[in-house]
């Protein structure tokens, strides 16, 4: 069963609708799964979130959450979703407990009634129960926000860039929490600009410029690759990068940590590249096949979509 269904949804801004935030996108999220919306800033992620959480009207198409239409049945949706906006939006002048209590009451429930669901997260916050939310650290704020979004036991959880600006350890912890929530049967719709988080999701959609470029499982997305990806390194990395770009059989080359990620045209062999680099005077040349990451796939798709972008 589908928990979220989006069909041809469009959203346009500006006086003449000249700014396209969402360009007729469609996607479906099955119940009890983690769905990741992955794309850079300005891709249209937040617009989609705001439409699904009934804060924004779509200009075209239709969408539903748990079978409720986002336009007609918005009141029903508000009862069953939890939303954590990208910007911290709890009351900074209320304490941890007061915030939680307040949001529980808004949903006509109590902290105690759904304590089981938030126990994992809330137990870390309890020592700071009386601290004002504004005085919490970034990671703690984010945990509190998640608690407040969960306190009414939502069926669908919307998390808009929950890990932006959070340190690496807290990010790992956060994803572990999401996994546990998923086991409770909650559908999780999450967006992130970090490609490395994509592998944590059951399915991901790559979004760019208001268009969805691909929807697949993280593994399936990498399978979409037809030709192998080569990692290239040599003594002088920058000169190597410039020289690799000059080689006629190279279709793409991106700097990427210790190795340059290089793709060759159909039928070209890596040996040719190696001897080419030798003639250019490079030493310690190493060329090997590497497994692509989501980021490689994203750049790849982005380049096919728009050749001028890079």
């Amino acid at each position: 069963m589908n928990s979220i269904s989006v069909k041809d949804v469009g959203k346009y801004y500006g006086r003449k609708n000249e700014t396209v935030a969402l360009d007729k996108i469609s996607l479906e999220v099955s119940a009890g799964s983690i769905f990741g919306l992955i794309g850079p800033d300005g891709a249209g992620k937040t617009s989609l979130f705001r439409i699904l959480t009934t804060l924004l009207l779509p200009d075209a198409g239709e969408a539903s959450v748990q079978g409720f239409d986002v336009v007609k049945d918005y009141k029903e949706i508000r009862k069953i979703v939890g939303y954590m906006p990208g910007k911290f939006s709890l009351y900074q002048d209320l304490s941890v407990r007061e915030n939680l209590h307040f949001f529980a009451t808004l949903f006509k429930t109590t902290i105690e009634a759904n304590y089981e669901l938030i126990r994992d997260i809330y137990s870390q916050l309890e020592p700071f129960n009386n601290r004002r939310a504004g005085a919490l650290s970034g990671g703690m704020k984010q945990k509190l926000a998640l608690c407040c979004a969960l306190v009414h036991k939502p069926e669908v959880l919307f998390l808009d860039e929950p890990t932006t600006g959070v340190d690496a350890v807290s990010r790992k912890e956060f994803w572990a929490m999401l996994k546990r929530l998923k086991q409770q049967g909650i559908t999780i719709f999450v967006s992130t600009p970090y490609m490395d988080e994509a592998t944590m999701c059951d399915r991901i959609a790559l979004i760019q410029g208001g268009k969805i470029m691909s929807i697949n499982t993280p593994y399936g997305l990498l399978e979409e690759y037809s030709s192998p990806l080569w990692g290239v390194r040599a003594d002088n990395m920058y000169q190597t990068y410039l020289d690799v770009l000059q080689y006629p059989a190279v279709s793409q080359c991106h700097t990427f940590g210790a190795y340059h990620h290089v793709r060759l045209r159909e039928g070209a062999a890596a040996e040719g590249l190696e001897s080419y680099l030798q003639t250019k005077g490079h030493s310690e040349i190493e060329i090997k096949i590497i497994s692509p990451t989501v980021e490689d796939r994203f750049i790849d798709l982005m380049q096919t979509e728009n050749k001028y972008l890079i």
Binding site: L55, R78, S89, L94, F102, F103, F107
Partner: protein, 375 residues
């Protein structure tokens, strides 16, 4: 009901924790009531007078002495030339100049008429016109005394003389404070109602907390009531504090029917809170809300009859004053505090303000839907 209660509790907690707002609510009224009525005083004193006495006669001395001993004037200079005295007016050391010409006394005796020149600096219009009126009175008085000396009492008075005396009602000593304090109280009530509530609502949007509220099943009227009720209560508290201060400091004793004032204030606050809500709907930041409220506040106060009587305004301004809610509050304040008006006396005011309250709140609720709730 439960949700409204939670909202109210949250709102009170936030207000009480916000030191700045708390100061505005409790210290601002005290300071304004302590300072403003003394400073905003229309009784003109210390008018600087320059005298040019060319005559040096008994009568001219009499005028000079009367001016000197009146409470309103300060003799700051004597001169023999009018042009020198004019330079005093120009450098503002003197507000008006009296010139008594040669042969003032002999003209008065021989020809039964004599001229005195009074030159007034009209840059400060109020001071000038009031000063000129005082001088006119003094000269008139001297004139009467001289005539009294001359008159050989006839058996009957050949000319009927009408003398005007008056007694002042409601404010027997014409104390300006008694007149100003109710007005300042009215201003305070409006600030709390219109300013603070709109700032508070806009803050939710500015900080982003409105997002979480909007995604919850909270109803629109619950949210609005949760915002308005706290400031309605604070408004009434301020009124009570203000009345206490005006009793202790200014000696304004509220009569038995002080509750009438609270009845009116309760209705009035609903109207201005509606105005604040309206402002908040059309602003996105507290800064914008502040500037817009300030703009309206200035117009409201100047057009309210607080400082200048509405009756002497031009026709168009009178129409504006008639739709200005502050006008009615100032009026009711003075009616109740000075005249001990009964509920029946202010009923027309209550009706008008109720109507304005309904209009403002309806506009606010309708526009709230358009702006905030996109669905």
């Amino acid at each position: 009901m439960n949700i409204l209660f939670a909202l109210l509790r949250k709102e009170f907690k936030q207000i009480i924790r916000n030191k700045a707002i708390l100061r505005v609510i409790f210290i601002l009224p005290a300071v304004q009531l302590l300072i403003l009525p003394f400073a905003a005083d229309y009784e003109i004193k210390n008018i600087n007078v320059g005298i040019i006495d060319h005559d040096h006669s008994g009568y001219s001395q009499e005028i000079v002495q009367k001016v000197e001993y009146s409470n309103y004037f300060k003799l700051t200079g004597y001169s023999n030339s009018y042009s020198e005295a004019l330079t005093w007016i120009e450098d503002k050391s003197v507000d008006l100049v009296i010139e008594i010409p040669y042969n003032f006394e002999s003209n008065l005796v021989k020809e039964n008429a004599a001229d005195v020149l009074v030159s007034v600096n009209a840059v400060d219009g109020t001071k000038g016109s009031i000063g000129a009126a005082y001088i006119g009175n003094i000269i008139q008085e001297v004139n009467n005394e001289i005539r009294g000396e001359w008159t050989v009492f006839p058996r009957f008075n050949p000319q009927a003389r009408i003398q005007i005396t008056h007694s002042k009602w409601y404010n027997r000593t014409s104390d300006y404070q008694v007149f100003m304090v109710p007005g300042v109280l009215a201003m305070l009530l409006t600030i709390v109602g219109a300013f603070l509530a709109s700032l508070n609502i806009v803050k939710e949007g500015e900080v982003g907390t409105i997002e979480q509220i909007n995604v919850s099943p909270i109803r629109k009227h619950e949210f609005i009531l949760g915002k308005l009720i706290p400031f309605w209560i604070f408004g009434l508290i301020i009124l009570a504090i203000g009345l206490l201060i005006s009793y202790v400091v200014h000696g304004i004793v509220p009569g038995n029917n002080i509750w009438v004032l609270f009845v009116f204030a309760a209705v009035y606050l609903l109207a201005v809170l509606g105005f604040g809500l309206l402002v908040s709907n059309f602003t996105e930041t507290q800064q914008q809300a502040m500037i817009i409220s300030f703009f309206f506040m200035l117009i409201f106060v100047l057009l309210s009859g607080l400082f200048t009587p509405v009756e002497s305004m031009p026709r168009w301004a009178q129409i504006l004053a008639a739709i200005n809610p502050v006008t009615y509050l100032v009026d009711v304040m003075r009616m109740v505090l000075l005249k001990e008006a009964q509920l029946a006396d202010i009923l027309p005011h209550i009706y008008t303000i109720s109507l304005e309250g309904v209009v403002l709140n309806t506009l606010a609720v309708v526009s709230y839907q358009d702006v905030r709730y996109v669905v």
